[in-house]
């Protein structure tokens, strides 16, 4: 049982990393958008493995249902579609890759050195390992309870973003 869960986790992690790497190596903007769909699905699966089912569903709804559609609209509106593939230029190629690899080395070293498994609160949580249960009800109670102020603030921010985006994108007379 545990082995299968681990195997599935690494399979989804592999899909996520591979599709993200293909975004880095493809020059076709439209392929990059479609590969981003695969990446977001993989990340949603990873959320489920971390016992965050609601966040995973929200990821699929908001990212794939919303952000990706906006991006594909953006690609269509900012290119003259003429039968040729929409490609992006690449610059700073090797310096960019080297920066990313160096950053990953630093992060990897820090994660290994930090040894999070020995932290007190992590060990406390592992001792009283709770049964995995649905988080939807708890998230609803928290959102309307302790987190009601950020919830309202983000509602106002969404309204502002909606008005701002519509205002910016309008065609001037």
């Amino acid at each position: 049982m545990g082995n299968w869960v681990q195997l599935l986790f690494y399979a989804f992690a592999g899909v996520t990393v591979l599709s993200a790497l293909s975004i880095l190596f493809t020059r076709n903007v439209f392929y990059a958008a479609l590969l981003l769909v695969v990446t977001f699905f993989g990340v949603a699966a990873i959320y489920v493995f971390a016992a965050a089912d609601f966040v995973g569903v929200t990821q699929i709804l908001v990212y794939i249902g919303g952000i990706l559609v906006i991006m594909i609209f953006g690609i269509m509106l900012t290119n003259r579609l003429s039968g040729q593939p929409v490609t992006t230029g690449v610059y700073n190629k090797w310096s960019g890759y080297l920066t990313a690899i160096a950053l990953f080395m630093v992060l990897f070293y820090a994660i290994i050195q930090a040894n999070f498994a020995s932290l007190q609160w992590v060990q406390d949580a592992q001792k009283t390992e709770p049964p995995i249960r649905a988080t939807v009800k708890l998230i609803g109670i928290r959102t309307m309870g302790e987190f009601v102020l950020p919830f309202e603030v983000i509602a106002v921010l969404l309204l502002l973003a909606l008005i701002g985006a519509a205002f910016l994108a309008r065609r001037k007379k």
Partner: protein
């Protein structure tokens, strides 16, 4: 239970790929895609730590707020890109090099 480090390393890989995409691409929309990758990497870390905090779920709520912010950010970003395209007739960040409006 999957070790915490494996989530964090996956997040670090996605973060580095996002940085590489942002640094090396000319098309503004692909740069936005890199930003989304970075936000996803941060979310993986938040959710991974949240499983050790099962009563409060603070990490998961933070992740949901980050997803909402990412949606708002990409909507406004694409609106700006559309304006830039109308003005410069290109979305290549190399050719958008004029500060005078």
């Amino acid at each position: 239970m999957i070790p915490l480090e494996h989530f964090l390393i996956l997040g670090a890989i996605l973060f580095s790929i996002g940085i590489a995409v942002i640094v090396s691409r000319k098309n503004a929309i692909v740069v936005l895609m890199g930003i989304e990758l970075i936000l996803n990497a941060a979310n993986i870390n938040l959710v991974a730590f949240s499983q050790y905090d099962p009563n409060m779920l603070q990490g998961q709520l933070f992740a949901i707020f980050v997803i909402v912010l990412a949606a708002a950010e990409s909507a406004v970003g694409l609106a700006i890109i559309l304006r830039v395209y109308h003005y410069f007739k290109t979305t290549s960040l190399d050719r958008v090099s004029e500060l005078k409006g």
